[in-house]
């Protein structure tokens, strides 16, 4: 928060042993982020994509572009429901930006919250405030260049392009010695006027389309002599759209999500600690916008509870179990409205020196007549020259009942595609996907200010469900249609790697950089097509500098290679290249500068995104990003 930011100019470097990438809330704000999902483009090695230009999806290079997105999202260690029909949307969580301490991105397989996955884990940690009462408020708005201005009235006039709308947030926190409570409110509006998407949005939402989001958030924490407990209640309403490939366009939806969560930790003896959490999320989607569009009506309720024992000594370092129950309701009853799953898991440390001992972890999931298994073995070697080498081997066999994408629900009887008249088919039978993975990571801490990392990975995927589409352009609504199939049983192998560095030559400046690579080694046509939709290379550099207290500068540069979307090949021919199946490579430079005033009580930030004016888009049918200016004004007390 502001007060904390003004305490000095030192920046927090990544910890020495971290094999997670951590982005602090302060960095997110310095980079010009105004919503939680803005953290995704800041992750150095996670390719991102967006259709609307406002909501981001991401997966690690070794993760999955397949159906469904399997990225695991945690808030303070609790698993939360951040996806809708398999589409990751962090903003539906309704977490105020000012409440975020850090967001960790985990790609390497390890036991986290009772899950072992190489599909990416996003672990959001909220702030535990300092004693006292504080309040904050901020407002951000901006504009993208390229509107015709007065030339709209001349023969050369053109259409307006995207305007950003606004983001506004306010909240208050009170913390005493042993407890705290906070309340926050966020609201935002997005105006989709980009010519690449405007026609579809007008067809879905009416002549003046708006994407609106409002969220309320309450958090509380209690710390006794030895125990600590957290409570959170959030409610988010999003008036947005849903893009589903078989529909070939967006449909307007109003989504309401309410989440209540408890979590705690209590010591059991001197060497053990008991962790527990319970989370319930209720989501309801109702139609919005034009009457003639497909109507999405859908309700879900998810409850997940977990109990975990952690030992500081002994071979059994972690043991626990978790229960998950998911209920869905649609206008036409689905065949399996309730899915219950139980997972038992444990982690063994096979040696006395915990930092370097081999670690083995496994999680066994059962329910609805299926059994899933995930296991990982890892070891860390300390090498000469203060470097370490970590190796990981993992196996995952997912439970099909845990799939919550639109195709899984279609197979369970949800008739959205049938009712919309979409051309689709399902080929094969859903079975839990299977993955074998290997990772090697070498890291070197050269002095206190330089960190180097090199890594490589291998992923072997089998029994995947992959969407196969060949879309055709429908000029009337600027939309697409075509046969779309979900094909079960695809598979292939992926290899990749990368290098990273972090340099903090002075305490007020951190420079980070990375290069990553991931490409299929072998696989069937569908696997290769799905992988081609993710860039194979990327280079990412960020610089965060606080030269004097109260003045903050952020500079980031990203280059990512082109991606190819086979589904849009017919569209490219039909539209004469207006929509292209290849999303071109792009070099993107972002800049932000913030000045704090009145001992940090007020702040103003100006940010420019895509400063170089690269031809930037992330999806063949998605929005384009011209250079954009964003201004943010914030206030905090005391």
């Amino acid at each position: 928060m502001l007060a904390g930011a003004c305490a000095g100019t030192a920046l927090a470097a990544q910890t020495d042993t971290a094999h997670v990438e951590s982005i602090t809330g302060e960095t997110l704000r310095r980079a010009g982020g105004t919503r939680l999902s803005d953290v995704l483009p800041l992750v150095t090695a996670w390719p991102v994509s967006t259709v609307d230009g406002f909501t981001w999806q991401a997966a690690p290079p070794g993760g999955s572009p397949f159906t469904p997105a399997r990225t695991l999202v945690l808030v303070d260690g609790r698993r939360v429901e951040a996806d809708l029909f398999g589409r990751l949307d962090l903003d539906r969580l309704g977490i105020p930006l000012d409440r975020i301490a850090r967001v960790e991105f985990i790609e390497l397989p390890r036991l986290v919250a009772g899950r072992i996955t190489t599909q990416g884990t996003v672990d959001i940690h909220t702030l535990e405030p300092e004693p006292g009462t504080s309040a904050y408020a901020w407002y951000a708005s901006g504009t993208e260049i390229g509107d015709p201005g007065p030339f709209a009235f001349t023969p050369a006039g053109g259409e307006n392009v995207d305007r950003l709308g606004y983001d506004v947030a306010a909240g208050a926190v009170h913390a005493a010695g042993s407890w705290f409570a906070s309340a926050g409110f966020t609201s935002s509006e997005r105006i989709p006027t980009d010519p690449a998407i405007a026609g579809r949005y007008r067809a879905a939402l009416g002549p003046v389309p708006r994407l609106e989001s409002t969220a309320l958030s309450l958090d509380a924490g209690l710390r006794t002599t030895a125990s600590r407990h957290r409570f959170s209640l959030r409610h988010a309403r999003q008036d947005g759209v849903l893009w589903l490939t078989p529909l070939g366009t967006e449909v307007g939806i109003r989504e309401r999500v309410t989440e209540v969560g408890f979590a705690g930790a209590t010591p059991v003896g001197s060497e053990r600690e008991l962790f527990w959490d319970l989370d319930h999320t209720a989501g309801r989607i109702s139609p919005r916008g034009m009457e003639a569009r497909p109507r999405v009506e859908w309700e879900t309720a998810t409850t997940e509870g977990r109990v975990e024992l952690v030992q500081r000594r002994g071979q059994l370092s972690t043991a626990g179990f978790r229960l998950r129950r998911l209920t869905a309701r649609a206008p036409d009853p689905v065949s399996r409205p309730t899915i219950s799953l139980v997972t038992a898991y444990a982690e063994l440390t096979l040696g006395r020196e915990r930092a370097t001992a081999p670690v083995v972890a496994a999680a066994l999931t059962g329910g609805d007549g299926e059994t899933g298994l995930a296991a990982v073995a890892s070891r860390t070697w300390t090498l000469a020259g203060r470097s370490t080498l970590e190796t990981f081997i993992a196996y995952e066999r997912a439970v099909a009942a845990e799939d919550t994408d639109i195709w899984a629900w279609t197979e369970r009887g949800y008739r959205l595609f049938e009712n919309a008249g979409a051309q689709f088919e399902i080929i094969g039978e859903r079975r839990g996907s299977e993955r074998i993975s290997g990772d090697v990571r070498w890291s070197l801490r050269a002095g206190r200010r330089v960190r180097l990392v090199g890594r490589g990975f291998y992923r072997r995927d089998r029994r995947l469900a992959v969407e196969r589409a060949r879309l055709h352009f429908v000029p009337g609504g600027e939309s697409f249609e075509g046969p779309v199939a979900l094909v079960h049983g695809a598979g292939g192998d992926l290899v990749g790697g990368g290098v990273e560095f972090e340099l903090s030559a002075v305490r007020t400046l951190i420079v980070k950089g990375s290069w990553w690579y991931g490409a299929p080694l072998r696989g069937d046509t569908l696997y290769r097509e799905a992988r081609a939709a993710m860039p194979h290379h990327g280079v990412w550099m960020t610089s965060e500098w606080v030269p004097v207290a109260g003045l903050e500068l952020w500079l980031s540069g990203l280059w990512r290679s082109a991606s190819r979307w086979a589904a849009f090949e017919p569209v490219e021919a039909e539209t004469g290249g207006r929509y292209r199946s290849e999303v071109g490579e792009a070099l993107v430079l972002d800049l932000a500068i913030a000045k704090r005033l009145w001992d940090g009580r007020l702040g103003i930030q100006a940010a420019v995104r895509n400063l170089l004016g690269a031809d930037l888009r992330y999806h063949p049918a998605g929005a384009t990003f011209a250079p954009t200016a964003v201004v943010r004004i914030e206030a905090s007390l005391p």
């Binding site: 015709p148 201005g149 250079p627």
Partner: protein, 214 residues
């Protein structure tokens, strides 16, 4: 509603964007930021120690696309400048009201709200050169009521590169003459070259304001 398009406009050959200005301004900035042999460290005020308040009148001498359709008229600028950790930081507004050259086009008002940075170099005891960059948002308000309200107002990012001379005949009062290249990121761009003259006064920043800013 008036017809929005006029087809009988004579073809006009435009000069390309003033590339020489784009090259000249970075060069000027480099010269100004470089250590000046005549400037001593103790002469430079501390950050936010002083406040320069100025008013200037600007005339657009560019002949380009905007000027073909609108007479830009004079512009009025109001600015504040403070010494910063390096160079000076500027805040200000610039107001103009272009009038249409054809009846089919609306007049409009333009308000440029900016933040800038500039470097200075002493050329003598009372004369100094300055150059800098300003960036901000231009708000445009069109005098037309036959289109939806949200189309009557528009805002676009804009930048200005500016170089000038300041003469300080007395300790607190100064006059300025400057030339500035101003570009608004519409499509196509609005490009203007302003000649300006103005007066201003230097104040010691009140303590409360200095505490607020620093």
């Amino acid at each position: 509603m008036k017809a929005l398009h006029t087809s009988s406009l004579a073809a006009v050959r435009y000069r390309s964007a003033p590339a020489r200005w784009r090259r000249l301004v970075p060069a000027l900035l480099c010269v100004l930021v470089a250590p000046a042999p005549t400037a001593t460290a103790q002469q430079r005020p501390a950050p936010f120690e002083t406040l320069d308040l100025s008013i200037e009148l600007l005339a657009d001498i560019q002949q380009a696309r905007l000027q073909r359709h609108w007479s830009p008229g004079p512009a009025l600028g109001l600015g504040l400048a403070f010494p910063f950790y390096l160079g000076n930081i500027e805040l200000g507004v610039q107001l103009s009201r272009p009038s249409a050259r054809q009846v089919s086009l609306p007049d409009f008002s333009s308000l440029f709200v900016y933040v800038g940075w500039s470097g200075t170099r002493k050329l003598g005891r009372r004369l100094q050169a300055q150059a800098g960059l300003r960036a901000g948002i231009v708000g445009l308000s069109f005098d037309v009521d036959t289109i939806p309200a949200f189309r009557q107002y528009e805002r676009e990012p804009a930048v200005t590169a500016r170089g000038g001379l300041r003469w300080t005949p007395r300790d607190t009062w100064f006059t300025e003459a400057a030339v500035a290249w101003h570009s608004v990121f519409t499509e196509p761009r609005i490009e203007q070259i302003f000649l300006s003259a103005g007066v201003g006064r230097r104040f010691r920043t009140p303590t409360w304001l200095r505490d607020f800013l620093d």
